[in-house]
């Protein structure tokens, strides 16, 4: 395989990371939580057999969407090394994330991979001046040689997110608006010059009008700074707007994955179709007329045998209730659904009315 080496990777990698390896390699990744109720114990697959590869030669914005409780955040935590994986492969630049030592996590990994969280006011202590986070990060990761250099460097980073040091110097988080505080959170992540940013619902706390300014910034970072972004959200419209590729998650499964324009332009999985039609449209002619079913209790769907969407799926077939659908490649994306599995005997694809949960 021929690999174009970008400037970011052209220096030798001192920590064993390989230049030709994918930036992030996730293969059959699974996270199992055990729930104990009295003496009974139940396994709970928060992320089940997820596979995603992000190449190192071309930065991209990879969107992960799905409803609450679909395993998006668990996936992010594993990528950030905050949660260990139960099974499968999880490598960053060819290094197994679970095996990186604590010291190297600090000196190398977190310099490369940085998080941005949902609520900027929860991420910053209300008792600390907000610029102190920027100074500390710059010094801890030795991005500046000495204290005198720090302001100049920080100002440079802040200009990437459309702020200046003068605007935020000495101010406490409550003195900033939600959009500004989130920009500072992103600036803090940018200080180490990371190759990958994991943004978990970075705009859900913000107004629709402010969302665009944050999302536009991710686009700019990708283009100008070669930063790849894993953009986790339940907001399909911004995912479509920014994402190069998209993965749709449902109860731990990736049910559909591929180029955003294909997946959201013409969704194949019934769940993705359901998601797409549920975006409230501002056009009066697109108002909803049919009704939809919702999951009653989340754990019921998680522990379902067969397809996890079978209880709500409008196209459910007999086979879906007892068998796990395979991931098949169809029309340029992977989709986990029996409808597109050509190995199944068409005679078995009989339709039923959805069974009650």
């Amino acid at each position: 395989m021929e690999v174009t080496v970008s400037t970011r990777d052209s220096q030798s990698e001192p920590h064993g990371g390989r230049v030709d390896a994918p930036l992030l390699q996730i293969e059959n990744l699974t996270k199992v939580f055990h729930i104990r109720q009295g003496f009974a114990s139940q396994d709970f697959h928060a992320v089940d057999n997820a596979s995603i590869v992000i190449d190192s030669d071309k930065p991209e914005i990879f969107a992960v969407v799905g409803e609450s409780g679909s395993g998006k955040t668990t996936l992010a935590k594993m990528v950030l090394g905050m949660e260990s994986s139960s099974e499968g492969i999880l490598r960053y630049k060819n290094r197994v994330i679970n095996d990186i030592s604590r010291k190297e996590m600090k000196t190398w990994f977190y310099r490369e991979v940085q998080p941005v969280f949902q609520d900027p006011f929860a991420a910053f202590s209300p008792l600390k001046r907000i610029d102190s986070y920027l100074y500390e990060t710059a010094q801890n990761y030795k991005m500046v040689a000495n204290k005198k250099e720090a302001p100049r460097y920080i100002n440079e980073v802040l200009s990437e997110v459309g702020l200046t040091l003068a605007e935020i110097a000495g101010r406490y988080p409550n003195e900033l608006s939600g959009g500004q505080a989130q920009r500072v959170a992103i600036a803090r992540a940018l200080i180490t010059k990371p190759s990958l940013i994991v943004a978990d619902e970075p705009v859900s706390m913000l107004d629709a009008s402010l969302r665009m300014s944050i999302v536009n910034m991710f686009r700019k970072l990708k283009e100008d700074n070669n930063v790849s972004v894993i953009y986790i959200t339940h907001d399909l419209a911004t995912a479509y707007y920014t994402g190069d590729r998209i993965a749709v998650m449902l109860r731990g499964w990736i049910v559909e994955m591929g180029p955003t324009e294909r997946v959201l332009g013409n969704p194949l999985h019934p769940y993705t179709q359901n998601l797409k039609t549920s975006i409230p449209s501002i056009k009066s002619e697109e108002a909803w007329d049919e009704k939809i079913d919702l999951a009653v209790i989340e754990t019921d769907e998680y522990t379902r045998t067969g397809c996890k969407f079978a209880g709500r799926c409008p196209a459910v077939m007999d086979i879906c209730h007892d068998n796990v659908p395979p991931s098949v490649i169809h029309e340029g994306r992977t989709v986990k659904c029996f409808l597109y599995d050509e190995t199944v005997d068409p005679a078995k694809k009989t339709y039923l009315t959805p069974a009650a949960t």
């Binding site: 409780g69 859900s204 009008s209 399909l236 324009e261 919702l294 009653v296 209790i297």
Partner: protein, 336 residues
């Protein structure tokens, strides 16, 4: 259908005094509203524009530092005209939940975590009506069935339910006594799209079944588009535009409304969309003249000094903007 609730030049400020420094935040400033019986009235705007404060005043659930400094709120209920300021605590308590109800945002904090849903319903119903436990369970079961919620919800604890189901149970709880007037504060914010759709569907059902009036507050224009009959746009404590939903979405006139609608991303195109420049002003020192002039692309000198009046630019479409007014060359004042 007459007016069910009206406000006349309502002003409500947060007045705080600390260490001898007085600070006045003008969260609701000179708002005149007429909400019709049986309609869904949407209130939209960015965070910090006074949406929730307005709702609190309309609901009569406020305490210092929030103070009504001018204007009035008048309810038209059961053929009577009641001024909210003249009502005794007892009268207010009597109205609440039975006639005027409120759907809050954080459903997790509303339901009692250590009681089953049916017991929470019983607590609620028995506080307003003389019912036995059996009767209230029956009433609850019937109502939940009507709304299409599964029966096993009744015996569950709140933490067992999904976020969307919890929000729908909260809506059912707030409306089980068939209130005439329902206020909803960001009922779908923080829910994902599928669940949001289920919640909107249910709000519509509840509202249509009894023909109640729903006042809906959210910053999500998409939710308004699917639910509201009329929309009022708030900016920095002022009503800047008001019309029926279709007009607001398809031919908005106020530059702020235009920004709000144009900045929404959609699945139609991936072209770059611009966010609204700047941010809402601090309301303790609101800008002079038109409060939007600092962010407005059309601002003229007159906007910096003189406050625009809300005028009717076409039947039932009101806008407060000098530029629009000039274009029209003479409209007449609203509600005159």
């Amino acid at each position: 259908m007459g007016t069910i609730i009206e406000t006349n030049n309502l002003r409500a400020y947060y007045i705080t005094k600390a260490y001898g420094v007085e600070r006045t935040v003008k969260a609701v400033d000179d708002i005149t509203l007429r909400i019709q019986e049986g309609e869904v009235y949407g209130i939209a705007g960015e965070s910090g524009c006074g949406k929730s404060t307005l709702l609190r005043i309309l609901l009569g659930a406020y305490q210092p530092p929030l103070t009504v400094v001018g204007g009035e709120v008048i309810y038209h209920l059961d053929g009577e005209e009641m001024n909210a300021a003249d009502m005794s605590d007892e009268q207010q308590r009597d109205l609440k939940w039975r006639t005027i109800s409120y759907i809050p945002q954080g459903s997790m904090h509303v339901l009692n975590p250590v009681r089953r849903i049916r017991d929470t319903f019983h607590d609620f119903i028995s506080a307003h009506r003389d019912v036995t436990k059996k009767e209230s369970f029956q009433l609850t079961a019937e109502y939940l069935r009507d709304l299409g919620l599964p029966e096993k919800v009744m015996a569950s604890y709140p933490h067992q339910l999904s976020g969307g189901m919890r929000q729908r149970v909260t809506i059912a709880l707030a409306t089980i006594l068939w209130p005439k007037l329902i206020f909803a504060d960001e009922p779908t914010t923080a829910l994902d799209v599928v669940v949001q759709r289920g919640v909107i569907q249910m709000l519509k059902d509840v509202q249509q079944k009894e023909g109640s009036t729903l006042v809906l507050i959210t910053h999500d224009i998409g939710v308004h588009a699917n639910l509201a009959d009329r929309i009022g746009i708030l900016y920095a404590g002022k009503l800047v535009e008001e019309s029926d939903t279709k007009t607001i979405l398809e031919s908005p006139r106020h530059p702020y409304t235009r920004y709000l609608i144009e900045s929404l991303p959609s699945l139609d195109s991936r072209e770059e969309r611009l966010a609204i420049p700047g941010r809402p002003p601090a309301l303790d020192r609101p800008p002079s003249g038109c409060r939007f002039h600092e962010r407005c692309p059309l601002a003229k000198d007159v906007c910096k000094t003189i406050e625009p009046e809300l005028i009717e630019i076409e039947p039932k479409h009101f806008t407060a903007c000098h530029v629009v007014e000039e274009e029209l060359n003479g409209g007449h004042s609203v509600y005159a």
